[in-house]
Amino acid sequence: MIFTLDSYQMKLSEIENHLGKFKVGIAGAGGLGSNCAVALARSGIGTLVIADFDKVEPANLTRQYYFRNQIGMMKADALRDNIHSIRPELNVLIHKVRLDRANIPSVFAGCNVIVEAFDRSDMKEMLIETVQGRMPQVPLIVGSGMAGWGNNELLNFRHIDESLYVCGDEVSEASDELPPLAPRVGIVANMQANTVLEILMKFQ
């Protein structure tokens, strides 16, 4: 995207009014999903659909948008609370289910964009195959490669085509020896949110 003078000539209230018309799906509410959802909420996205079946654990606080007093809560509930602490007027629809090929189209029905925010690569593959196969008109933003620290210059964005975008370094796999840490996870989550805005700002 090339910034022209025109693209800057929009007041924040106009941007928020525009973004308020749209619905964005977040598949997973871990490091990517929680941080991405909060960035989208702050930007004024009208409706967020959040799907996650996990509970907040102490180890999640290293990088996920939760607080100590939320340990033990369902992440979907905790994230909805946190979003409503920022913007009470936002619509947050939560689905406390394990996403699979059968339920993805109904959970994210009506979403203008979907953010892939899973931890495991086999789940990422399943979501990409399902959304691209069953909902090919909905842009999907994938996060791949964000473990470790440093290497800012490797964090990359790829516009595969009009329905598929990838954020991350595409090489650093999370493991016990290369854990995901808050800065790089947060950067990629915010790159995904930034991509959502870029797509939606072009929508009428």
Partner: protein, 67 residues
């Protein structure tokens, strides 16, 4: 034949190859990946039957755990 793989031209001796053959020839061994041929996603179970033709545009990226 010539194809475009991730925006770079690649040349193969045969007239057509399957996705599996391309992965072998390029020695791409990491298993978790997404491949699109001319914008169409090829599921993993179709790698041995999906055919790549001259002029095709292949997009590929790797899926890393973490998030």
């Amino acid at each position: 034949m010539k194809i475009i793989l991730n925006n770079r031209e690649e040349e193969f001796e045969k007239d057509t190859i399957t996705v599996s053959e391309m992965l072998d020839l390029k020695m791409f061994t990491f298993r978790m990946r997404i491949i699109k041929i001319n914008g169409e996603l090829i599921p993993k179970d179709k790698y041995s039957t999906a055919i790549i033709h001259d002029g095709d545009n292949i997009q590929m990226f790797y899926l890393m755990s973490g998030g």
